[in-house]
Point group: C2
Amino acid sequence: MRKRVNMHSLCANMHAMEPLWDDLHTVLCLVRRGSLAGAAAELGVNYTTVARRISRVEASLNVALFDRLRDGYQPTEAGQSVAAHAAKMEQDANALIRQLQGQDDSLSGPLTITAPQLLIAHGLAPVIDSFCATYPEVQLHVRATNDLLDLNKREADLAIRISREPGDTLTGLRLAEQRSASFADATWAARIASNPETLIDWVVYAAYKDVPRNVDPAYPNHRIRMTFDDMVAIRGAALAGLGVARMPMFLGQASGLVQVPVLPPQPYADIWVVGHPDVWPSAKVKAFRDILVPHFRKTKGRFLH
Amino acid sequence: MRKRVNMHSLCANMHAMEPLWDDLHTVLCLVRRGSLAGAAAELGVNYTTVARRISRVEASLNVALFDRLRDGYQPTEAGQSVAAHAAKMEQDANALIRQLQGQDDSLSGPLTITAPQLLIAHGLAPVIDSFCATYPEVQLHVRATNDLLDLNKREADLAIRISREPGDTLTGLRLAEQRSASFADATWAARIASNPETLIDWVVYAAYKDVPRNVDPAYPNHRIRMTFDDMVAIRGAALAGLGVARMPMFLGQASGLVQVPVLPPQPYADIWVVGHPDVWPSAKVKAFRDILVPHFRKTKGRFLH
DNA sequence: GCATATTCACGCGTTTTCGCATGTCCTTGT
DNA sequence: ACAAGGACATGCGAAAACGCGTGAATATGC
């Protein structure tokens, strides 16, 4: 015992101790998040543990990796260098897990999918329900977000996306073609029907900032009433009678809005299911697709008219 | 407390727990070494710890990584896959440490050099002595081996090598040109001098398996008496009077052997000091070079005649 | 054929690590 | 100006990880 302890401390003095890989991971998280608490949350440990690990790795490398500022840990140049290398290590670790996951033929355990909020609410819910009933052993985690999660980083195993193309390196299937049209509440619909030349208030995406192209020339008067950066808000505005909005067919109809003829139906971004090629063949992912794809095949009409 | 434990066990059941990077490292070592004891030695821990970590990572990945055989742990296919990815992670970790090391401007702490045994014994010893005297804070570690250590894997910080070229990606300086000649003990020298046509017994490298080319035609009769795979052994054989050996000038002369004219002096592999470009600029490595290079500049004659 | 050397499995006691609670400093907002 | 919240340091007690010893099974050598 005595001997061992002495050897250990000798080692620490003589050789620059090999840093523990977990500590490098901790450095990476701390650089990313900027605070002990943030890194701790990501790692699932207490923030004091993060602080201790940082001290340990700095001692073993004999380099200051962070400046302790009042408002967080600021990485030094060396700290950023460590984080950069650790990020590469993380890529390999992720690739490893993805690969093992792809060979997993069990129908139990965790499965994470992601989809836009509105698509889950109006069309995906039955799929999720059916999947959970069929595979009760699978712990399904649904991430309802409009953000494009990084499937390389395993933020999700499968993503349902509304886009013109599948991802670059991702495997994918097109679930349904979509079309969009103009929708409004009943009051607006009646007003437009009675007088096509009435001034039409548009509620549009902030990104577009303009009245949709291809509006029917029979309705010549338009203005932008307001812009939003979120489709849920646009739908809410339309439901509140604030104006006319362009939205995909399924959403306008499921929302109780009335389709108005101002904008004729026209192509919209399609619905895709995409996944990382490593994870794609796994049993759980395949099982989900086997419920998802037939369901969309049966209901594809909702997205066209 | 209660709460935390429950959360933890829940996590383990619901999500495939992220494997700890250290455990991946452990898998890598175990695949490389083949036994718990070997991996433990490499990691500097007890072998029971290795066994526990393997169990843990197998549980967290829910995959069998090794077959427990009586004569060691045999990696499964999944285990080899894990090891392959962990090897990539190790490369990044090594690159990181090399890079930090290269920026280290301290003249204390560990420094590892490697050189052929015979070169250390006959020529390098004064350099090492002088370096240790000048920089007592540096813990110099000398690895005397004919194996070419992998500087990418940080098996040494600096290598003195006898070769025709420096390494492919390594930085290097030529310390001295070398020439070789034939050497033998006094008895053989006398016999050859008295009768050039005597049958000459050669002691040669196993790799060559033949009498050296370019022998002087004045000495027509040769045979291979024995072969060795080690220069120390060859020198020993020559000293014991077993025959004539080709060896570099410095070695024959330092060994108390007599140069015989059978093989005229001719070019031999030169002496280089090489290092990884990342580590090359570090203060300790530079300090060693600054003693090493001038020493060889002064004594380069020993290697030519 | 028996002795020796490896190899791994298991249980115990200790060390190390960790989580939590408290205290301090600073920034932010009203 | 003062309260409120976030971020870090520190000390303490519990939990987890570890090292060590013992024992069994197998390969290796004389």
